[in-house]
């Protein structure tokens, strides 16, 4: 963290309070040890502060005006001191033996409002202390008072849970509004809840105020209608907000709760920065420095903390008056840099709302320059994820975007952000890469699940750009580890590849990107080595190929490299890159072709590109529900693309080998898992196969796996079928799932469409189907039994079904099943044949497109016109040549041959090849004669093919 905090045990444990002097050079803290310490803000935390000792009991409040500072304590006296010095000036007021609770000096510095355990609030003129206005009307004591920036309104927060707004501009003070039910009612002054700062905080524009509510969020209430505006809430804030403070210009609101101090943007109402709080300590007061970028607070352990530079450089300054309250049409022409996940720089409707209110109240907006917009375009708010935005910045284009949905940044599946100086760079089914930050260097550990095939190793990284490792991408594939580092000053981004097989450095290569380009994602794929890479006898499986590497860069492209580091092609990528994963023969790229939509959809698309020809096999939008993001993409053990989103759905892409015919099959719904019930946990996928999801189970709100490395858990994969009542539901589900995977495996096969392994799986499937048929027979559901019978793959399975029907004495059903069997045998409509037929159809439809020929430039011979009546019976097997049965066919063929002889030029196709064959024969004969001439032993040269043709010609040629 760039900003740092300084702490000092300033007071004894107990209630403490803090205020800054108006010029911001000093701060005053008071505690239960009845001392007030005066801190010089220019010195460090070890300074010896000046101390005011006058109070007899614990100090409850300090306040400062221009010339004086005031303290109030449990001894019921309000004392005034000379500015910046511990010199008592005089008594301002004395309550009737009860504690002073709060002091507030009006913006002009003339009057002080005093809240005590009495029910009346007094407003006393500091110079002329007999000049007192009493505000009576509270039923219980008043805990906090604050002034409106105009000095005409005073707000009081009472112990009975009401907030009253007093108008004291007139001669008689009157209650303008009493707001009930916002702040908690706390009657016991000894309770810790009483220490919570329930004061209202007015925005400098005076248009609205903030107050922490009893529901643990920050409520915004606008003037003059006293409407509640959308409140500030965040899921990370779970306990009561104990203190609030607003920066001088009203841009930032700081809140303290038990866990942390959060700084919110008052515009977007999102938390920008956080600081961990001290456990068990209650922060009793927060204060922004009026002149420095500094936030200070005190807690009930008596500790004073200064957080220097809570607002990082580059973000709008918390001091300088800026456009936070700028009303002049700024809300409509609001420009923001590229939206990115995790930052708050996009505008949402509520911020426009609050600005609109500011517009209504603030007349002199001119003093606020438009410069804050320029500030906002600085790099300050860009985080690591905003790689995409940076290149746009080069072109001096300002991205104008009105989008509420934060765009998901690019991520590498299986990597985690740096937490407690450690992170995972890759975690997949091959292995794990961990990084430990040792301040001066990083230790990178590469560990494999299968230690027999590859050996784990670790190395120390002494690169001088060690910080850059944070954004480093790692990728583990079957053949080697890839890593990329982002550019850092003079270092360009580069991709390094370390193959596992060869331990000499000859296999390593690196690929350097031009300066300022970044690597957003990496993937490597290729055939899996069948032999162990550590086996020295085989050359590490190199001969099978080295695979393919894909690099996604910030230049909006996908660069395909071969496994040996040769550049193959650079493909442009539509929209922003999000993630990718590579399989043996294709790469799955997830990108965002457009923008996110207003209603929360990420607008992601998955594209499958083949390695061989760079063909786009599929392009399908991802089935992610609105308001959710992609969590993981990967390839299953069967080679099928899979995605997992934050709503807990796992989808696989079925039919992905059929161009443009893929669909997403939901294979797992993590919310319906048995173990998920009544448990707060989430799943972080590592790998997927057809039966199990390998994942890491994260408890509670954990987002990423931590250290030490958790065990990979296995969850059963179940399609989310809703009918779960019947006993067969689980079998039906497994049959459907197995069917999907058999089809996927079959799509990957050649024309054979089957192999012994698939046959085995189909036999297993038939067994399950027969079990379903049996239960259908038992419950007398003949239609279902027939439907299931039709799905059986093998004839003998159908016989078994028929026997089952006979066993249950369902003779009608048995006859029908027998009929199905007979029909199958006669028609030869096996499921396999149907698939083959279907594929033939698809091949016809998916024939690729040829380039168009220009008219009058086509010098090729005229294309053969296919006329069925004249077609030769193709490739007739010659053993029927002399049988009488094909006499007609022979006659047709002879006629065609005769016609072909008479034609010039000869048509393309078979005829031409004959001519070539003849030429070949002539060559051979010439060769033969030559050899004979040389006088060598003449051996008959076998050329059976041409001989057969010549024989044919002789037989059927002339007539």
């Amino acid at each position: 963290m760039a900003s740092k905090t300084l702490t000092n045990s300033a007071h004894e444990p107990g209630y403490t309070c803090i205020t800054f002097s108006r010029d911001g050079k000093l701060s005053y803290t008071g505690g239960s040890d009845s001392l007030v310490r005066i801190w010089n803000m220019d010195k460090d935390q070890y300074q010896e502060p000046e101390v005011a000792y006058e109070a007899d009991e614990g100090i409850t409040t300090v306040a400062s005006s221009n010339d004086y500072w005031l303290s109030g304590s449990h001894d019921s006296e309000v004392r005034s001191y000379v500015h910046g010095k511990p010199d008592l000036h005089g008594l301002i007021s004395k309550a009737a033996g009860v504690s002073i609770r709060d002091l507030a000096v009006d913006p002009a510095g003339k009057r002080v409002a005093i809240a005590t355990d009495e029910t009346t609030v007094k407003v006393v003129d500091i110079k002329e202390i007999t000049n007192v206005i009493s505000l009576a009307g509270h039923r219980k004591c008043v805990r906090k008072v604050t002034w409106h920036p105009s000095g005409n309104l005073l707000t009081t927060s009472s112990a009975d849970g009401t907030v009253s707004v007093w108008d004291i501009s007139g001669p008689e003070p009157r209650v303008e509004k009493t707001i009930d039910g916002v702040i908690p009612a706390v009657s016991d002054p000894e309770s810790t809840d009483f220490m919570h700062d329930c004061s209202v905080v007015w925005h400098p524009s005076g248009g609205h105020f903030y107050v922490s509510s009893r529901t643990h969020d920050i409520v915004v209430i606008s003037r003059p209608n006293w409407d509640r505006l959308p409140s500030f809430s965040d899921s990370s804030i779970t306990s009561a907000i104990t203190a609030l403070a607003l920066s001088v210009n009203g841009l930032y609101l700081a809140s303290a709760c038990k866990e942390e101090i959060a700084i919110w943007s008052t515009q977007t109402k999102r938390i920008l920065w956080r600081h961990a709080g001290t456990p068990n300590a209650i922060i009793t007061q927060l204060a922004f420095s009026p002149s420095q970028n500094l936030l200070a607070w005190t807690d009930n352990e008596g500790i004073l903390t200064w957080w220097r530079e809570p607002v990082p450089a580059g973000s709008p300054d918390p001091i300088k008056q800026s456009g936070a309250a700028n009303p002049q049409g700024g809300s409509t022409k609001h420009k923001v840099p590229a939206t990115s996940w995790g930052t708050d720089d996009d505008v949402n409707i509520s911020s426009v709302d609050s600005k609109g209110i500011a517009a209504g109240e603030n007349g002199d907006g001119n003093e606020y320059g438009d410069d804050w917009i320029i500030d906002d375009l600085g790099d300050g708010m860009e985080d690591e994820a905003e790689g995409n935005g940076k290149t746009e910045g080069e072109n001096k284009f300002v991205k104008e975007m009105v989008s509420i949905t934060k765009a998901q940044p690019a991520f590498q599946p299986g990597s985690t952000p740096m937490q407690n100086k450690r992170c995972y760079l890759a975690y997949n089914t091959v292995g794990v890469i961990e990084v430990a930050d040792q301040d001066t260097h990083h230790i990178v550990t590469v560990d494999f699940h299968d230690r027999s095939a590859r050996k784990g190793y670790h190395f120390t990284d002494h690169f001088k750009y060690d910080v850059a490792y944070l954004g480093m991408l790692f990728f583990l594939c079957e053949r080697g580890a890839l890593f990329a580092c982002p550019p850092e000053q003079e270092h360009p981004a580069q991709v390094l590849y370390k193959p596992y097989g060869t331990w000499s450095s000859q296999g390593d290569w690196e690929y350097v990107l031009p300066p300022n380009h970044r690597v957003l994602g990496l993937a490597a794929g290729g055939e899996r080595p069948t032999k162990s890479l550590r086996d020295p006898s085989s050359s590490g499986g190199d001969i099978q190929g080295l695979g393919n590497v894909v690099v996604a860069t910030s230049a909006g492209d996908l660069t395909f490299l071969s496994g040996s580091g040769m550049e193959r092609i650079v493909l442009g990528l539509e929209g922003e890159f999000v993630s990718m994963a590579a399989a043996e023969e294709y790469v799955l790229v997830v990108h965002r072709p457009g923008a996110t939509t207003i209603d929360g959809s990420q607008g992601l698309t998955a594209t499958l590109i083949s390695f061989e020809e760079f063909e786009v096999l599929q392009e399908k939008p991802l089935p992610i529900p609105k308001g959710h993001v992609l969590k993981w993409i990967g390839i299953t053990d069967e080679g099928v693309p899979a995605i997992y989103d934050s709503s807990g759905h796992m989808h696989i892409m079925i039919n992905f080998r059929r161009p443009n015919r893929a669909s997403w099959a939901r294979i797992l719904d993590a919310n319906t898992l048995e173990r998920k019930q009544n448990r707060d946990e989430s799943y972080w996928p590592v790998g997927l196969s057809k039966d199990i999801l390998m994942c890491i189970i994260l408890k509670g709100r954990q987002e990423h796996p931590g250290f030490p490395r958790p065990l990979i858990q296995e969850l059963p994969v179940r399609m989310p079928f809703r009918n779960k009542n019947s006993a067969d539901a689980s079998i039906e589900e497994s049959v459907a799932r197995e069917r999907v995977f058999i089809d996927l495996a079959r799509d990957g096969l050649e024309d054979e469409l089957t192999n012994s392994e698939l046959d085995k799986r189909e036999i297993e499937l038939d067994k399950s189907l027969i079990r379903l048929i049996q239960s259908a027979c038992k419950t007398d559901k003949a239609p279902r039994a027939i439907e299931l019978t039709k799905r059986l793959h093998f004839a003998h399975s159908i016989s078994a079904a028929s026997q089952l029907a006979g066993f249950y004495r369902l003779l009608g059903l048995q006859e029908k099943i027998d009929a199905i069997k007979r029909w199958r045998e006669e028609q030869e409509v096996t499921p396999l044949e149907t698939v083959r037929e279907r594929r033939r159809e698809l091949e016809q439809e998916d024939r690729y497109m040829k380039a168009p020929k220009k008219p009058f430039q086509d010098f090729e011979p005229p294309r053969k016109i296919d006329r069925p009546a004249l077609a030769r019976p193709a490739a007739v097997v010659e053993h029927t040549e002399f049988t009488a049965s094909n006499a007609t066919a022979r006659a047709v063929r002879t006629r065609v041959e005769a016609e072909e002889h008479s034609w010039t030029p000869p048509p393309e196709g078979k005829r031409k090849r004959d001519a070539e064959d003849e030429a070949g024969v002539k060559d051979l004969e010439r060769e033969h004669h030559k050899r004979c001439a040389v006088g060598e032993a003449s051996t008959p040269i076998p050329s059976p093919k041409s001989e057969v043709f010549l024989e044919m010609r002789r037989l059927c040629g002339p007539n």
Partner: protein, 188 residues
């Protein structure tokens, strides 16, 4: 018989451990292995990072060669044992434990202490559990009858410890009751 007298009446703990090593445990393999047939059945295939269930003897063997991590059974952790221990000390009857828990726990803790979270604590809990149960089984022996001894949920190792004593004691009791009966029969 070559064995000394006290061991002859009962099985030795080592032998019990051998018997227990047929039990299946889950492992996380670090090597690839095809499905392999053994006398007790076919196990595997091992495909890291997928888990696999194999017999304990094989798991211990692989673990010694650093070729797997043993995933401890769900009862071999601090929470479970703590809960059982508190139940053991607060209720008179034996709490339910896996029949061969002592042997399996010993085998796993000996071979793979690094795979068990908080192994030292688990060890001491197992020892406490053993002592608590031992005290109970001693108490239970007081109820020994000439014909029956009912101690539900007693585990193999504890039975083994008691066996030499109660077989002998039961023999004596039976003899006594028989003599009593005979005496009663002779008296009238």
């Amino acid at each position: 018989m070559a064995l000394p007298q006290p061991l002859r009446t009962s099985v030795s703990p080592q032998e019990l451990e051998l018997i227990a090593s047929e039990q299946l445990v889950e492992i996380l393999p670090l090597i690839t292995m095809e499905k392999t047939a053994f006398i007790s059945g076919a196990y595997g295939p091992l495909r890291p990072p997928a888990k696999c269930r194999i017999p304990l003897w094989m798991a211990v063997n692989l673990k010694v060669k650093k070729k797997c991590h043993i995933i401890p059974p769900d009862w071999l952790n601090v929470e479970f044992l703590q809960e059982r221990l508190s139940r053991e000390t607060s209720y008179p009857e034996f709490s339910q434990m896996p029949f061969r828990f002592a042997e399996i726990a010993k085998a796993i803790l000996d071979a793979a202490p690094d795979d068990v979270q908080n192994a030292e604590k688990v060890r001491s809990l197992l020892k406490d559990l053993r002592e608590a149960r031992q005290a109970k089984s001693r108490e239970g022996l007081a109820k020994l009858d000439h014909s029956e001894l009912s101690l539900p949920n007693l585990c193999s190792m504890e039975i083994n410890e008691l066996r030499p004593f109660f077989i002998h004691a039961m023999g004596v009791l039976t003899q006594l009751s028989r003599e009593e009966q005979n005496g009663a029969a002779e008296e009238p």
